[in-house]
Symmetry: D3
Subunit: 242 residues, 6 copies
C-alpha cells in the first residue's frame, strides 16, 4: 500500500472539530476544522423569503461561500475586488444550499429564510465538505434558538447531513483528501449523505483519468464510514444545546 | 409500472439525431437533438492557449454554454442583458469542458485552444447531456479538419464521450428525462461516460428526496446502456468524414 | 458594370425564406434566411409593461438582439461572458424595436408587452435587416394567437414593415449586401419601410467615403423595390395562419 | 404656417457659438452652443492606437459622449454610478467618431490617437449635432497644435464636417429642433455633411409616424442650408489660429 | 521664506468666484472657481428619500462627484466607460454629503431629497474643497426656491459651511494648494468648517512624511482664516437672492 | 462624569491582543482583537509591483479590507455577491495602505509588493483602527521572514504605526469606541500615529454636530496615550520573532 502524504490510513479522517457558537452576533454558528482546513459557518435568520415563496407559508434555506484571500497557499484575488463570484464559488454555494434543504422541512418554520455563510479562514483541501458539515451545525443552532424563543414548536430538520471527499491517489482509494493529495489525485469525488445513510449528492469527477465502476463503488464505501463518523461529531457538538 | 408522460419505456432514449457540419463558419459543428431539446455545438480553433499553458507545448479544450431567451417554456432573461452568466450556466460549461478534456490528449496538438460553444436553440430537459454528446462530435470534426490540413498527424481523442440523465420519477428509474419528468422527478442524475464504459463524471442530486444506494445503482445501470446507444450514433455521424 | 462577388444582379435580393412557427415554445416565431444569414426571431407575450406605461392602458413592443459566438466567420466573444452588450448590439436592438412600433397600435392590446428576440444563428451580412423582416412575421403570429384566444378583437398592426440594406460597391449601387460586399463597400445604408412605401428609418453611413446626394437617392430607389419583394414574402408566410 | 415654439423661422438655426480653446489642459477644445444646448468638446492626443492598428503606421480618431446629470430638465442618473453607458450614449459616441473619421486622413499623422470627449453641460435638444460640430473644431485645434510643434507637416483633415437635426413638427419641416419641438415631433432626422455638401451620415427615424419620401427630401434640403451656415461659423472660429 | 510656485503669500487663497444660477434646469446651481479649478455644482430636488427614511418625515441631502475626462492635465479615463466609480470619487462624494448634512436640519423640509452634483470642468488642485464651497451655495438656492414656492417656511440650513486645503510645501505651511504644490507637498490636509468656526471634518494625510503636532496646528490656523474669507464670498453670492 | 456603556474609564482601551502568525500560509499574519472586534491581518509577498513602479527599483505596500457577512450585528450583504466594494470599504483600505507606507522605506526591498489583507471576523466598532494596528504586526513579520531568508539585509520599517478612535459621547471625550458608543457618538475621530508621536493621518467627522477646536484637541490628547499603549503591545508581540 502506498503511504499517504499525511501518513494517515486510507480510511482515516483528519482530526475534525466543530466549535458551536463561535460567532457572537449570528443566530447559529460553527467553526469547523478538518485538519488545517478551517471554515466559519454562520446562520442568519431573515424575515423575508425569495419572491417565488411569498405568500406560500414556506421558508427557505440558502448558502453563500467565500474564501479569505490568504486562506490559500498563495494569495487568491478577492472576489469583491474582481467584482464577481467565480464559477467555482457559485457551484459550491449552490451545493451547500441543496444539501441543507434536503434535510429541512421548509413548510415548518413560516416565511423565514436562513442564510448560511461559509467562509474559509484557512484552506487545505475539502473546503466544501467541511462547509456542509459545519453548516448543518450552525443551521441547527439557529433553529434551536428560534424554538427557544417560541417561534417554532420543533426543529424542522429531519436528520443530520454531512459531507466528505474521497479520491484515487497513487491508485489507492483514500478518504478526506488534503491539499497535497487533492492536487495530485487521479479522480476526486464528494459525497453528501444523511445520518441514515441516504445519498443527497454525489459528485465524481475525472478530469484526466476516467475511472472504472468498481473504483467508484470503492469510494462510495469509504465515504459511508466517514460520514457516519462526522455525524457522531455533529451530534456531540449539538448536545451542548439545552 | 407507471406510464412515463411521453409513453416511452423506462430505458428508452428520446429520438436522437446528430447533424454534422450544421454551421457554415465553424471548424467543427453539430446540431444535436434529444427529442425536442435542440443544441447547436460549434468548435472553434484558436491560436492561443490560456496563460498557464503558454510555452508548455500543450493545447486546451474549453466550453461555453448558453440558452436562447425563448428556448424555454417561458422566456428566460438574456444573460448578456443581465450582465452576467448565472451559476447554473457556469456549472454546465465547466462540466462540458471537463468531459471533453477527459478524452483529449492535450499534448498532441500544439499550443492550440479549441473552444466549443453549446447554444440551446430549444429546451425540453437534458440540455447539458445533449450538449456533451454533440460537443464531442463537433470537437472531432475540428480535429479532423486540422488533420486534413496537415496540422496534426492523428486525431488526439482517446475514445468517444457522451452523457445522459437518469432519474427517479413516480418511484421508477427512468432514462433521459424530458422537461415534464425533470420538473417532477424525485431525484436526478447526470452521467458522463466513455465508449469503453468508464465514468468521467457523476452528478446525482436529491433536493427534496435523499435516495438509497440501491436506487442510485439502478440509475447507473440505466445510464450505461443509454451511453452505449449514444456512442453508436456519434460514430455513425462521424463516419461521413473521409 | 462590375460583377458582384455573388454574381447577383445589382437589384437582386439573395434567396429569402421565412419559416413561420420555427420555435416550439414561443407565441410567435420565424426563422428568416437572407442567403447565408439566418436569424431566429421569437415573440414572447408578457403580462407587464415598462414602468412608464403602467396604468396607461397601453402595451409595448420591444426587441433584443444577439449573435451566437460562432455565427461569424471567426468566433466573436460571447456577450454574456464579457458581461455587457456592445454598443452595436444595443444600436441594433433599439432599431428593431422602433421599426416594429412604427406599425403597431399600442393602444389596442391592453397592458401587454411583446418582446421580440432576434438571435443570429449564422451571419453573412445584413443581420439587422433580416431581423426586422423576420421579427414582423413573429410579431404578427403572436398577435394572431392572442386574437385566436379571444384576448384581442383584431391584430393591432397597421401594415407590414421590412428592411433591406443597399450600398455602393465598386462604384455601383447594389441591393442586399452580403458579408463579402459589406466589408468592402464604400458606403452602406439600411432602409426600413412599410408595405405602402413609407419610410420608417433611414441609416446611411459613409465612414471613409462621403457620398453625393444623387448616389444616396439611387440607394433609396433600389431599397423601395427590395422592400416590396420582402413584403410579398411576409404576406405569403403569414397566409398559412387561419 | 404654424408658429414654432421658439418663434424661429422654419429654416432658422438657434444662435450658435463656438468658443475655441475653452479648456486649459486639452490639446484642442471648443465650447459649442446651439441656443441653450451647451457641449464642451475636448481633443486629447494619445501616444498609442487601438490594437488592430499597431504597426500599421496609421492613426485613429475616436469619440466619447456624456451628459452631466443635471444638464437635463429633470436629473438623469450618472452613468458612472449606474456602472454602464446607456445604449443611447454608445450610439451617439459611435456616430461622432464616424463623422470625424470621414474627414480625417488616418495615414497622415502616425500611430497617434485623438480622443474627442463631448460632454453636455446643458441640454435643450440637438446634443449630438452640436457635439459633432464642436468636435470638428476641437480636433482641428489639436492637429494645428501638432503641426505647430513640428510633429506633422499638414493638418490631416480633408474638409470641415458639421451636423444638424431636422424634423416634422405640426406638419411642417423645421431646422435645428430644440427640446420643446423634439419631444413632440412626428419625425426626426440628423444629417452629417461636409463643407462640400457630401453626406456622411443620415439618420431618419419615425417612431410613431412613417413619412413619405417627399417629406424626407424636404428635411434633406433644409439640412443642406443649415450645414453651410455651421461650416461658416467653424471656419470663423478656426481663423483665430495662426 | 520659500516662494510659492504661484507667487502667492502663504496665507493667500487663489482668486475665488461663485456664480449663482449657472445651470438653467437645476433648482440650485453654482459655478465655483478656485483659480483654475472650476466645478459646476447643481442641486436637484427629488420627491423620494432613501429607503431608511421612508415614513420618517425627514429629508436627506446627498452628493455625487465626477470629473470630465479632460479636466485633468492628461486625460483621465471616463468612469462611465470603466463601469465603476473609483475609490477616490466615492470618498469625495461621501465627504461632500457629510459636510452639507452637518449644517442641514433634515427634519425641516419633509421627505424630500436634495442631490448635489459636483462636476469638475477643469482641475488644478483642491477640487473637493471647491466642491463643498460651491455645493453649499447651490443647496441654499434650491432651498430658497422651495421657500419662494411656499413648500417650506424657512431655509433649513443652520449656517454656511465651506472647505479649504492646507499643506506643508518646502517646509512651509501654505493655504489653498494648487496642483503644482499639491503634487509635491510633504503633507496635505482638508478642513471643512462652518461660518462660526466649528470643525465639521478634518482630513490630514501624510503619506511619506509623518508630521508633528505643532505643524498640524499651524495648518489648522491657516484654514480658519481661509474659511472665513470663503464664507464672506458665499454670503455675497447669495445676497442676490431676494 | 457619565458612565460609558462598557463601564470603562474615558481613557481606557478595550482589552487588546495581537496573535502573531495566526494564519498558516501567509508570510506574515496577526489576529488582532480590540475587545469584541476581531480582525485577521495577513501579509502576502508578491513578485511584481504596480505598473508605475516597474523598473524603479522600488517596492510597494498596499492593503485590502473586507468584512465577513455575519461579522456585523445584522447580516451585511457579501460584497462579492453585490459585485462591488462599497465606498466605505475602499476608503478604509486606502487608509490602511497609506498608514503602512508612512513607515515603510519603499526603496529598501526591491521590486516587491506586500499586500496586507484585513478581514473582519467579528465587528464591534473600531475595525479600521484595529486593522491598522494588526496590519503593522503582520507586515513586520513578512519583512522579518524576508530578512531571515536573506532577501533583504534589514527590516525596512522606520518605526511602529498604530491607530485608535476617539469620540464625543454624551459630551465626554472617550477613547476606543465600541459599537454601542460609536452608533450614538456626537463626533468621531480616527488617529493614526507613529511610536514617536508623529501624526500620519487624522480623520475627524461630525455628521450631526460640528465640534469646537478645544473639543478636537481633547480627542487628540486621548489618542496620543492610547497609541503609546498599542505600540507597547505591538512590540511585545513582535519580540517573539528571533
Amino acid at each position: 500500500m502506498p503511504q499517504r502524504p499525511s501518513g494517515r490510513a486510507a480510511n482515516a479522517l483528519r482530526p475534525v472539530s466543530l466549535e458551536l457558537g463561535f460567532a457572537k452576533h449570528a443566530e447559529g454558528s460553527c467553526l469547523v476544522k478538518f485538519g488545517d482546513t478551517h471554515v466559519l459557518c454562520t446562520a442568519s435568520v431573515e424575515d423575508s423569503v425569495p419572491p417565488w415563496l411569498r405568500n406560500s407559508g414556506k421558508g427557505w434555506v440558502t448558502a453563500e461561500y467565500g474564501m479569505l484571500p490568504r486562506s490559500t497557499h498563495t494569495r487568491t484575488q478577492r472576489e469583491a475586488a474582481k467584482g464577481a463570484q467565480s464559477g467555482r464559488t457559485q457551484e459550491i454555494q449552490r451545493l451547500i444550499g441543496r444539501a441543507l434543504r434536503a434535510v429541512t422541512q421548509i413548510d415548518k418554520f413560516g416565511e423565514t429564510q436562513i442564510r448560511v455563510d461559509c467562509d474559509v479562514i484557512q484552506a487545505d483541501g475539502g473546503t466544501r465538505t467541511a462547509s456542509i458539515t459545519g453548516a448543518y451545525v450552525a443551521l441547527y443552532q439557529a433553529f434551536h434558538k428560534m424554538k427557544t424563543m417560541g417561534v417554532i414548536p420543533t426543529i424542522p430538520l429531519t436528520e443530520p447531513v454531512a459531507a466528505i471527499s474521497c479520491g484515487l491517489h497513487r491508485g489507492q482509494a483514500v478518504l478526506d483528501l488534503d491539499y497535497a493529495e487533492d492536487s495530485s489525485a487521479q479522480a476526486d469525488a464528494n459525497f453528501v449523505m444523511t445520518a441514515s445513510g441516504k445519498l443527497v449528492e454525489v459528485q465524481a469527477t475525472a478530469e484526466d483519468y476516467a475511472f472504472e465502476e468498481q473504483e467508484f463503488l470503492g469510494l462510495l464505501a469509504l465515504a459511508k464510514d466517514g460520514i457516519a463518523e462526522l455525524v457522531k461529531l455533529q451530534r456531540a457538538a449539538l448536545s451542548k444545546l439545552t
